[in-house]
């Protein structure tokens, strides 16, 4: 075996490689952590240490002024993924009992009114979110609000579990001849409107969004109009208001009609 020692600065390979690597590191540290932060024209650095911290990505408070508070109640629903495991049988049972008071409008006798949504088979997250929003008055309705005020957290989870446990009811006016209109299939990218189907069914579903297949066209249309006028504003980060405002009246009709015609 060669007696040549490797880990010593007398070995030219060791000295050169460690030296070059060290020099590269030092050089890029100086440029990246000192020169570049100072070169940024919009930086408000208080000194060298501040420059180094900002380049290292140390979190710093940037906004000092107060944020504007809205004049209305906003949705404060926080959904976590524990809520959406397989429904627990006892929760479903309690939900079934509680749902007796809902049946007059959201009937499990398959005679929901055209101005109320069908809840059978809706994702638990969607039902829970709306109940919670009605309770805190982020969403208001002369009939629903008084019901929701009385519900506690567990009641809302139980009702959500119950409705998600029921099989989705078939649409009242299925019409396979109606194909997905442009707004549903692809949205309107030029107006920043994503496809309805990317959250509400056919293509994909998102946490907390309702499934629209087979819902009443009148109900869908009324909600889109309410979002557009701002009469309804419990959508998180104004997602639906921004979409509905950008939709034409014809697109609202098409989308409502399409989802109502789904089986």
């Amino acid at each position: 075996m060669s007696a040549e020692r490797l880990f010593t600065f007398r070995n030219p390979w060791f000295a050169a490689s460690v030296g070059v690597a060290g020099a590269m590191v030092m050089l890029s540290l100086i440029v990246g952590f000192v020169l570049l932060p100072y070169a940024a024209t919009n930086s408000r650095l208080t000194g060298l240490w501040d420059a180094i911290c900002s380049a290292a990505g140390v979190p710093r408070a940037t906004v000092t002024s107060e944020t504007a508070k809205p004049s209305f109640t906003m949705s404060n629903v926080v959904m976590n993924s524990q809520m959406f495991g397989p429904p627990d049988a006892r929760s479903v049972g309690r939900g079934a009992t509680l749902a007796m008071q809902c049946a007059i409008c959201h009937g499990s006798n398959r005679t929901s009114q055209v101005d109320t949504p069908n809840l059978e088979g809706q994702p638990a997250a969607a039902v829970y979110k709306e109940l919670r929003d009605f309770k805190v008055a982020a969403r208001t309705n002369a009939i629903m609000s008084p019901f929701a005020v009385k519900l506690d957290e567990q009641d809302m989870l139980d009702l959500a579990a119950y409705y998600s446990y029921l099989p989705r009811r078939p649409g009242s006016h299925p019409d396979p001849a109606v194909t997905a209109p442009q707004i549903v299939a692809r949205g309107a990218p030029m107006r920043n409107v994503p496809a309805c189907s990317s959250c509400h069914g056919i293509t994909d579903a998102k946490l907390g969004t309702p499934w629209l297949d087979g819902q009443s066209a009148i109900y869908i249309k009324a909600q889109l109009q309410a979002f557009a006028t701002g009469a309804r504003r419990n959508d998180i980060s104004e997602q639906m208001r921004n979409i509905a405002r950008q939709m034409t009246a014809a697109e609202i009709d098409e989308a409502a009609h399409f989802y109502a015609s789904r089986p």
Binding site: W13, S17, G32, L36, R186, D204, W211
Partner: protein
């Protein structure tokens, strides 16, 4: 001397079968999101396919090639039987079981999260377990390569480790270290969430760990290709390797700087400070060095071959090269694609230039040109070169081989050039459908359609590749003679200790990792409130 023929063949065949299936999925994806197909109404199917394609092509296929080729190199270069052949079979079994375990939930639509995982999306735990099994199987290979080289060195004190084995072990060590990032991400961060023990995940930290793996994995894929450049190509074209020492230095540079540079994949991510992005950008620039060294050395080796074959003058040697030789064609095509892909890579690593192409189809075009183009075409060439020694039968379909390589080259150019172009136009990646009727993106329709036809050429080339190999298995038996690697112009009699082992280089690699990744990871670990709710893919809706 190749004792473990069945072992190597099993690796190669499993790799190529996986490759063939994933190739078909890739072309299907190209088609469904092109204007030639109206609209894939269920985009989940698209993401399912992308996940299968990426996992198979990224994790299973190149890993098996590196493993199989590594076992072959061990026996052919060290001229002694592989130590730990049973372990090697166990490693292969783990990779196979892992691939199946991962693909079942993917095909059921329970893990459509793409092969890069993308937390907070969380798929079925069996997907991650499968990927971990594939990696564990490959770590057996890493250990075997290390043991085989160490034993040989002990028995041959002072002698230089044959270049092919040296490079092979470089690839193994690089993979061992680079896989650690994704392994930590999957085992510590993702699996507890996938198994339902936690419901939130620190997506930013996960992405930092994945970036640890994401860049150097490409160099792991690249290793067999570079080994073929240095140790097969000069012999195959009738020349000599220009410099053994330069080859060793190139592989050492890959080991040292290929890994601590992954943050350039996170230029648009907020959780890493700009200073660390800069330092990793600098080191990314350095990783271009070993590739430039390689291009120089291999072109010089080709010039030697051309002159030995009677070429004269400044360019006459190029005409004198054996252009009908599949290895000559493959290396040429590989270099052309590496040149364009490398130029694109320099754009990606530049902070400001990256901003205009980040997350666009440019990126997908880029890594297909480098991996599926420059790297995979050499996998074909390696198979062509080794097959007679593995099967004891000649590969006689030389015209078919040439047609296959030409088709792969042309197909890859036709696929990826328009792909880059639409990326510059701003077409985002990872989308299942585009509305080409929209005036804003209508100009992209033609380019995307051209890409689909490029993909078709690739499928045809893939079929030809299988035809060549299968015809090889049916050819009459013959004696392929002794397998030889390239010989250097100046054969190394003894090399410095630094160029005959990895102790120094692994120390530098780990040291640079600590410098470049230590603080960003420690900071994210120390901060509270980074976790976001997991989004379970394929959960009941």
């Amino acid at each position: 001397m190749l004792n473990s023929k069945r072992l190597v063949l099993a690796h190669f065949w499993l790799a190529f079968v996986v490759f063939g299936l994933a190739l078909l999925l890739g072309e299907w994806q190209m088609f469904v999101r092109s204007p030639l197909n109206p609209w894939i109404s269920n985009s989940e199917l698209y993401y399912r396919s992308v996940t299968a394609h990426g996992s198979a092509m990224g994790y299973v296929f190149p890993t098996l090639i590196a493993m199989g080729f590594g076992y072959a190199i061990t026996e052919l270069a060290l001229k002694r039987p592989l130590i730990g052949r049973r372990w090697a079979w166990a490693g292969l079994a783990l990779v196979a079981v892992g691939a199946v375990t991962a693909m079942i939930p993917v095909s059921l639509g329970l893990a459509s999260i793409l092969y890069t995982f993308y937390p907070p999306m969380i798929g079925n735990p069996f997907y991650y377990i499968g990927v971990v099994l594939v990696v564990v199987g490959s770590w057996i290979w890493v250990a075997l390569m290390s043991i085989n080289m160490a034993t040989w060195k002990r028995d041959n004190p002072g002698k230089p480790v044959p270049l092919a084995m040296f490079a092979n072990v470089a690839g193994a060590y690089l993979w061992a270290w680079t896989a650690v990032g994704a392994a930590i991400e999957v085992i510590v961060l993702i699996l507890p969430v996938a198994l339902g023990l936690k419901t939130t995940i620190d997506a930013g930290l996960s992405r930092v760990f994945f970036s640890w793996t994401l860049h150097a994995i490409v160099y792991f894929w690249l290793m067999p290709t570079y080994i073929a450049y240095y140790t097969i190509f000069p012999r195959a074209v009738g020349g000599r390797l220009y410099s053994d020492a330069m080859a060793r230095i190139a592989f050492i540079l890959f080991v040292v700087v290929a890994m601590p540079i992954g943050v350039h994949h996170l230029f648009a991510d907020p959780q890493v400070g700009a200073g660390f992005k800069f330092i990793q950008s600098v080191f990314t620039a350095i990783v271009a060095l070993p590739t430039l060294v390689t291009i120089f050395t291999i072109c010089a080796s080709a010039e030697l071959a051309g002159r030995l074959r009677g070429g004269r003058g400044p360019f006459g040697w190029i005409a004198a090269l054996p252009w009908d030789n599949p290895m000559m064609l493959a290396v040429t095509f590989s270099f052309v694609m590496l040149g364009f892909g490398g130029a694109g890579g320099l754009i990606n690593m530049s902070y400001q230039l990256d901003a205009s192409i980040h997350n666009t189809q440019w990126i997908t075009g880029h890594f297909h040109l480098i991996f599926a183009g420059a790297i995979v075409i050499m996998y074909f060439a390696i198979a062509y070169d080794l097959w007679p020694h593995l099967t004891g039968r000649a590969l006689n379909s030389v015209r078919l081989m040439r047609a296959q390589l030409w088709l792969w080259f042309v197909g890859m150019i036709v696929t990826t050039f328009p792909w880059h172009y639409v990326g510059i136009l701003g077409m985002p990646r990872r989308m299942a459908s585009y509305d080409y009727a929209d005036p804003a993106i209508a100009p992209q329709a033609l380019s995307v359609s051209i890409s689909v036809f490029g993909g078709l050429l690739l499928v045809i080339s893939g079929c030809l590749f299988f035809a060549v190999l299968i015809r090889g298995h049916r050819a009459p038996q013959m004696d392929p003679g002794e397998y030889r690697f390239s010989v250097a112009v100046h054969e190394p009699v003894r090399v410095p200790v630094a160029l005959n082992g990895f102790a120094l280089w692994l120390t530098l690699m780990i040291g640079l990792t600590v410098v470049n990744y230590g603080y960003p990871i420690a900071q994210l670990l120390a901060l509270n409130g980074n976790a976001v709710p997991a989004v379970y893919v394929g959960a009941a809706r």
